[in-house]
């Protein structure tokens, strides 16, 4: 800390002020005291010398009376004790020098005659004259000469003053330093907070208030200011952010616009379509590069309404009409016209589409259009149409063929049922007649052969019946109804068991879930399966037929089990074929159509049929029916 050059800190400045003020006060008071002291010093010195002179006068008075200069000198020599007395003389009453004294070898210059009583200061010397008076008689005069050491005294004084000042200043500095804390610390706090705020941009910081004086007010004001700044900064930041957002959005929009424009430009050059722009009267004004490329028209040709000449005559007329309408009532329109194609040197079919660009007032600013070459497309469509038509023709021809084939099949089976039976009836009928009319003329062997003929003719009748039934099934439509399978099974079994006179099979029926299907067809299924079960178990001691059903997730499964001869599982695949038999006809009569019929009926109902067995171990036939009968 250097006094005289104020520091940059408040502390420094305060200290500076204190020290300057202290110094000034000390100097003024020091000066005042010095002046007073100097005056006092002279008076004291004059009084002192006067007293000396009086003492010497009193002492020297007898010497004068007795004219003893040596005694007078003796008294003067006593002045040795006063080093600042540089000379002393005693004059006689008549003014003659009586005795003189000098502390040094040097003769002291005194006037030859004594001056009047009093003193005079000459340079740094005080000269004093004092009459020696005894009994109101002037005996002589004492003259004293003393060095008047004012400068030395002043210097001493100044040294003391300087020391005092230095001590005072140090004390003041120390005290002010301590006292300053109460001022500077809150200020330093405010400063540090301010610095933090500046560095961290954190306007939530607050300076601590430690007093209620001006500094307290300052802290309050500072905090208020921070509040305000914080609020402003926040507002500013918000608005900055909004601004940034806006800027970003604008940038994005600008980017999008630029991209859109790039895309448009690329599109115009990339698409095979020709894009054109016309003014509101349908005139080409700007350069139409696409149009030029396609039609070969130069700008001179297509400008204004020249572009229409690129269409063939019929198209020009059509276009003119359409434009007249469009100019009247601005609406987008589309036409298919023949347009000259320079590259192929021919007119090609194009689709011309024109869209009005409307101003904000709904007036037409200009027209934008596209020309699409649809020649190939049309040709392809035509080819496709032809192809489709051909295909349709072929399909209908094929359908007709199929229908004819179906009809043929139907009439075939009809013929079979009538014509194939006629000879059979004759064989059977006349064999019967032979039997009835001529039985007694036939020997045993002839009768045996005749009965074979009758039997086989019967069998053939059955085969034909079954075959026809099977073929009819393929054509018969299914009439689905909800069926009580338990009832259906009971009735069927009763009917069958009655016809198998030799059979006395035990019949066990488990739970049978209902089904949806064609009653007569499913009756046929039960009939075939049950009659098989009865037939193939008829040779057992205790024939047993069991029927049951299982409800599964999407279908119901039914089964018919017997304890009859069973079959070899290797031939399971053959079971359901037409005219497939796994057993001897003589043992178990049948045509081999029954299971084929079952298979066909169940399949047509959307179900499955399967069987499992071992020879001699009985057989189980299963069939499933979906819970939802599919629509045929």
């Amino acid at each position: 800390m250097i006094i005289g050059r104020p520091s940059n800190t408040i502390r420094g400045k305060l200290l500076f002020v204190v020290l300057v003020a202290t110094s000034l006060a000390l100097l003024i008071s020091g000066a005042a005291m010095a002046i007073y002291e100097l005056r006092d010093f002279r008076e004291t010195w004059v009084n002192d010398l006067t007293a000396q002179a009086d003492v010497i006068g009193l002492a020297a008075a007898p010497a004068l009376q007795f004219q003893d200069p040596d005694a007078a000198y003796e008294y003067l020599a006593l002045l040795k004790a006063k080093p600042n007395i540089t000379g002393a003389v005693i004059y006689e009453a008549n003014g003659a020098l009586f005795a003189s004294y000098s502390p040094s070898e040097q003769e002291v210059a005194f006037p030859s005659l004594p001056d009047v009583d009093g003193h005079q200061v000459r340079e740094d010397e005080l000269i004093l004259f004092k009459r020696i008076v005894a009994n109101d008689e002037i005996l002589g005069t004492v003259g004293l000469r003393a060095s008047y050491d004012l400068t030395g005294r002043l210097l001493d004084y100044l040294a003391i003053l300087g020391a005092i000042m230095a001590l005072s200043l140090i004390g003041a500095a120390l005290i002010s330093r301590r006292l300053q804390r109460t001022i500077t610390e809150p200020l330093a706090e405010v400063t540090s907070v301010a610095r933090q705020v500046m560095e961290q941009r954190d306007f939530s910081l607050r300076a601590a208030k430690s007093s209620n004086d001006e500094i307290g007010l300052l802290v309050d004001a500072f905090n208020d200011m921070l509040n305000e700044i914080g609020r402003r900064a926040e507002v500013l930041e918000t608005s900055n952010k909004a601004l940034e957002q806006q800027v970003r959005e604008r940038e994005r929009a600008e980017e999008a616009r630029a991209a859109g424009e790039r895309r448009n430009r690329t599109l115009v050059t990339a698409i095979t379509q020709v894009v054109w722009v016309a003014n509101r009267r349908g005139q080409f004004v700007e350069e139409q590069s696409g149009w030029s490329r396609y039609t070969g028209q130069t700008r001179d040709y297509y400008r204004e309404l020249g572009w229409r000449r690129a269409f063939d005559q019929a198209a020009q007329n059509e276009l003119e009409l359409a434009w007249a309408r469009a100019l009247n009532e601005p609406e987008a329109f589309e036409l298919e016209l023949k347009l000259w194609h320079e590259a192929s040197g021919a007119y090609r079919l194009v689709s011309v589409r024109a869209v009005p660009v409307l101003s904000q007032e709904d007036a037409v600013d200009e027209w934008i259009g596209a020309v699409t070459d649809i020649e190939d497309q049309r040709r392809n469509e035509e080819a496709l149409r032809t192809l489709n038509a051909e295909l349709e023709d072929r399909v209908s021809a094929r359908t007709a063929q199929l229908q004819a084939a179906n009809k043929e099949l139907e009439s075939f089976s009809y013929s079979v049922s009538h014509d194939l039976r006629a000879p059979l009836r004759a064989i059977n009928g006349f064999a019967n007649l032979l039997w009835e009319d001529h039985k007694d003329k036939l020997d045993d062997e002839a009768q045996r052969k005749l009965s074979i003929i009758r039997g086989q003719a019967d069998r053939m009748g059955m085969l034909i019946d079954d075959l026809l039934a099977f073929s009819r099934l393929g054509r018969k439509s299914i009439n689905p109804a909800h069926l009580d399978m338990a009832e259906l099974v009971a009735n069927t079994f009763e009917r069958l068991n009655g016809s198998h006179e030799s059979s006395n099979a035990e019949f066990r029926v488990g739970k049978l879930p209902g089904a949806t299907g064609d009653r007569s067809l499913l009756e046929q299924v039960w009939s075939n399966l049950l009659s098989n079960a009865i037939k193939f178990s008829s040779r057992e001691d205790h024939p047993l037929v069991e029927v049951g059903g299982i409800v599964e997730e999407s279908e119901n499964v039914y089964y018919v089990r017997d304890n009859g001869v069973g079959f070899d599982p290797r031939y399971q695949e053959k079971l359901f074929g037409v005219f497939q038999r796994l057993h001897d006809e003589s043992e178990y009569p049948g045509t081999g159509v029954g299971l084929a019929l079952v298979h066909r009926i169940i399949t047509r109902h959307g179900g499955r049929v399967w069987a499992d067995s071992r020879p001699g171990d009985g057989a189980t036939f299963h069939f499933s029916l979906p819970k939802d009968v599919p629509n045929e």
Binding site: Y414, S417, R425, A426, N428, G429, R472
Partner: protein, 146 residues
């Protein structure tokens, strides 16, 4: 012999063998005395309407027509349509004889008004049932049991 015993049955069948067997059956049931056999639909219509070779034939009827379906020239369906479409003749019961239970035959003959059908070879029990249902008790009455 009352008038009901004067039975007249028109048997229409192009198959001589079938006809012979049918007549034999009718004979066995003592119904053959008044059976007239014609070989096709045309002759059947001639007989019913007394024309052609049957112009001025004697007798009434027929009381019953046993009609085969599949015949040359005019078939059984056509014969049924004509007779059942004729208010004067529609009372004559027609029993169709079919070779099979072809649904098509059965439904067609019924829709044309045939009274019944039987499957060949003619089952005379069934025939008697059919006739009795049609109101012709004579067949049932004259039936020889066994």
């Amino acid at each position: 012999m009352n008038e009901y015993e004067h039975v007249e049955i028109l048997l229409v069948d192009d198959s001589a063998l079938d006809a012979e067997l049918a007549i034999r059956g009718l004979k066995e049931h003592k119904l053959a005395n008044d059976v007239v056999w014609v070989k096709d639909g045309e002759q059947a219509l001639d007989y019913v309407y007394r024309r052609g070779q049957f112009e001025g034939r004697s007798g009434v009827g027929p009381r019953l027509i046993l009609l085969d379906l599949k015949m040359p020239k005019v078939d059984g369906i056509e014969v049924t349509r004509i007779i059942k479409g004729d208010p004067k003749m529609r009372h004559i019961p027609i029993v169709i004889m079919t070779s099979s239970k072809e649904e098509r035959d059965i439904s067609e003959s019924y829709s044309l008004g045939a009274n019944s059908y039987i499957v060949k070879p003619v089952d005379f029990e069934a025939l008697a049932n059919v006739a009795s249902q049609a109101g012709y008790y004579w067949l049932a009455i004259n039936r020889v049991p066994g």
